[in-house]
């Protein structure tokens, strides 16, 4: 997080993490399409010829919170390929929250777990407390055959402590819920450590309401728990 008192500007960094091809870029594309114009900037993709993310994708969102504070939310993706380890660590630097995008296909279960282990390690290497990092998990590609079942995920989700969302990112399903869910716990964490309400008169709930409004999702469902 970066705070510029003079410019009344707050910048929050959210990182979309996960194995290669789980749908991180697709999530950002969907958000870019769904968010009201003027709130999202251009989606920047630093990719190689084969469409794989080389360094990161970046989608900037700008919200105006109560009392005129400008809240800039920067959504990043990391390259999932194993070889881009050092890039992932770089992109993860200064993250305020992480959305872990898992591929629901059974065949990807191990790849998800490996990527998650990698996430923990990179958080630790960056000197971040993994257990304290705001984290949500999204099971993407719910439209495909041979995926882990709803019952299975729901059962595990009740035992785990992170909010879990299900999504079909190519159709924009569940993508916004994931983003809002992550914003909610990230804001709570930032509020706890920086007293944003005291300093700026900005409360989390109105800000989230503003975000939901720009995402066109008043009253949308929350986490699948």
């Amino acid at each position: 997080m970066q705070l510029d008192f003079k410019a009344r500007e707050l910048t929050i960094k959210l990182v979309y993490y996960g194995p290669a091809l789980s749908g991180k870029t697709t999530n950002l594309q969907a958000i870019h399409q769904l968010v009201s114009p003027g709130v999202a900037g251009r989606l920047m993709t630093l990719e190689t010829k084969d469409d794989r993310t080389l360094f990161f994708d970046l989608l900037p969102l700008t919200l105006t919170a109560g009392s005129g504070l400008q809240v800039r939310v920067k959504l990043f993706t990391v390259p999932g390929q194993v070889i881009h380890k050092s890039t992932r660590r770089l992109v993860l630097q200064g993250a305020d929250g992480v959305a872990f995008i898992a591929d629901s296909q059974r065949s990807e279960t191990k790849a998800n777990a490996q990527s998650f282990t990698d996430l923990r390690k990179n958080l630790k290497d960056n000197g971040l407390d993994a257990a304290a990092m705001p984290l949500v998990i999204q099971f993407n590609k719910r439209d495909l055959p041979d995926i882990r079942s709803d019952e299975e995920i729901d059962a595990l989700a009740t035992r785990g402590k992170e909010p879990v969302y299900k999504a079909i990112a190519i159709r924009g399903v569940g993508v916004l819920e994931t983003l809002v869910g992550l914003m909610r716990i990230t804001w709570a964490r930032l509020e706890a450590s920086h007293q944003l309400a005291d300093k700026f008169g900005v409360e989390g709930e109105p800000l989230l309401a503003e975000l939901r409004r720009h995402l066109g999702m008043e009253g949308a469902p929350g986490a699948v728990r």
């Binding site: 920067k74 990043f76 050092s86 770089l90 998800n112 998650f116 989700a157 035992r159």
Partner: protein
């Protein structure tokens, strides 16, 4: 370069000049000028002029020939330069009746600078404004009028559209510049990061290598000393007492035979102790190589049960086997894992009451996360399994507060049991190290008076 790492981690831009090429900017402004005859200047946040395409207008030239005109003009220009609108475009009138349109340049929710279109003459204005006419007593109205006529005339709405268009083009230029900037910064940062990583690994390797060499030297000395200085004379002691026992050196009376037997027994014990110490030494130095290969658990259990059957029979103890069907192979060092199970089973037989049973079990379990929290449970669950082997007896058991310490070297539940049951006190510590060398863990569950169950896990092979 700009704000450094903070800017890179947030992919932020603080200065326009960091990411746009002045030449490209000027080129765009020039093409606007060619199309619409409108002067355009681009300023960064701190007022630096980044692009400037204009031709001095006749009216400006004329006004500047007058002393009052010169003063007024320079005041106006200073005012325009100082304008830094945030919300949207603002118009600033000149005393000539012309206007400047100042438009903010925002990117990713941040102000990066502004561009100024003008001066131009609003098409809607017909009259020569009074402010011009009264400017300077020396002003020649006709000259002013004809100079003004040469000024580009633009309708308000057109001016707005042109400014919007330029805003969009600038946004694209900034975006592409930003992307190129980030790409090169990330290239550099990645290379630096990889270099740092490699250097770190190199240092660690060198350190480990140096340490290993030193350990290796120490270990060789230690092993040589132990095996030579202790084992050699001990073998003689055992050998000679053996010979005495067989009566080679003359018949022994009952008491003598008993003493010799004791000497031999203690000698054997000492030899076992030394062998264990050697094993422990190897394990301690991480020298023990674990050669993993797929191994069938059912066979392993059956084999150990069979090997220990004669010992068990002596005390009428039976060995029961309860292995779940369909267990996957474990990836383990056959010799070492057999040693572990053998050790535990032998102990169980020793501590088992006469005529009772010892149970060997094996089942599939899911490995819990290796950290003490359950972070990412939904992702990690079921991705790592292991085979858990267990050995149960109904002997005296181990008190709760001692259940961890039993795995310490030389620990005995009570001092007497070594003597009574003939162990070296090293068995369990070796078991623990062997299991851990396989990436597993071992623990004991016990209720005093009801027996003890030792369990250890061997993780499934990592197929990644």
């Amino acid at each position: 370069m700009s704000g450094g790492l903070a800017d890179l981690t947030l992919a932020d831009v603080t200065r326009l000049e960091d990411i746009v090429d002045k030449g490209a900017l000027t080129e765009v402004c020039r093409s606007f000028f060619d199309l619409f005859s409108l002067p355009i200047r681009v300023f960064s946040n701190d007022g630096a002029l980044l692009a400037d395409v204009h031709e001095t207008r006749e009216i400006c030239r004329y006004v500047n020939t007058l002393s009052e005109g010169r003063r007024a003009c320079s005041t106006r220009v200073t005012e325009v330069k100082a304008l830094a609108p945030r919300g949207g475009a603002v118009e600033h009138p000149c005393f000539t009746g012309a206007v400047y349109r100042v438009v903010p340049i925002a990117y990713q929710g941040r102000m990066l600078g502004r561009f100024v279109v003008g001066p131009y003459f609003p098409a809607e204005t017909r009259e020569v404004p009074r402010s011009l006419l009264v400017l300077d007593p020396a002003l020649d109205r006709e000259a002013a009028r004809s100079a003004l006529a040469e000024m580009p005339r633009v309708r308000e709405e057109t001016a707005e559209r042109i400014a919007d268009h330029l805003t969009r083009i600038l946004d694209l230029i900034i975006f592409s510049g930003h992307r190129a900037f980030l790409t090169s910064e990330m290239h550099v940062a990645s290379v630096r990061e990889s270099f740092r990583e490699l250097t770190e690994k190199n240092e660690q390797l060198q350190e480990a290598f140096d340490k290993l060499q030193e350990l290796d030297r120490l270990k060789s000395n230690f092993l040589a000393t132990v095996s030579h200085e202790l084992r050699t004379p001990l073998t003689s002691i055992i050998g000679y007492s053996d010979m005495l026992a067989t009566g080679i050196a003359g018949e022994l009376n009952e008491e003598q035979a008993e003493f010799v037997e004791t000497i031999r027994g203690k000698g054997d014990h000492l030899l076992a102790l030394i062998s264990s110490l050697l094993d422990l030494g190897k394990l301690e130095q991480g020298k023990l190589r674990v050669k993993r290969e797929p191994m069938n658990v059912e066979l392993l259990v059956a084999e150990v049960a069979k090997t220990l059957a004669p010992l068990a029979q002596k005390r009428d103890v039976s060995i029961r086997v309860e292995v779940d069907g369909g267990l996957p192979d474990i990836s383990a060092d056959a010799v070492r894992i057999r040693q572990v199970l053998y050790n535990l089973t032998e102990n169980a037989v020793k501590f088992s009451p006469d005529g009772d049973a010892v149970t060997l079990g094996a089942r599939l379990v899911e490995l819990e996360a290796d950290d003490d929290d359950d972070m990412g449970f939904v992702l990690m669950a079921g991705t790592r399994s292991a085979v858990e082997l267990s050995v149960s007896d109904r002997g005296p058991g181990i008190p709760t507060d001692e259940q961890e310490r039993v795995f310490d070297a030389f620990y005995q539940v009570d001092g007497s049991s070594t003597r009574e049951h003939g162990g070296t006190g090293l068995g369990l510590s070796i078991v623990k190290r062997l299991v851990e060398a396989h990436g597993g863990s071992v623990w004991v569950e016990s209720v005093v008076g009801e027996g003890a169950t030792f369990r250890f896990t061997i993780p499934e092979a990592d197929d990644a």
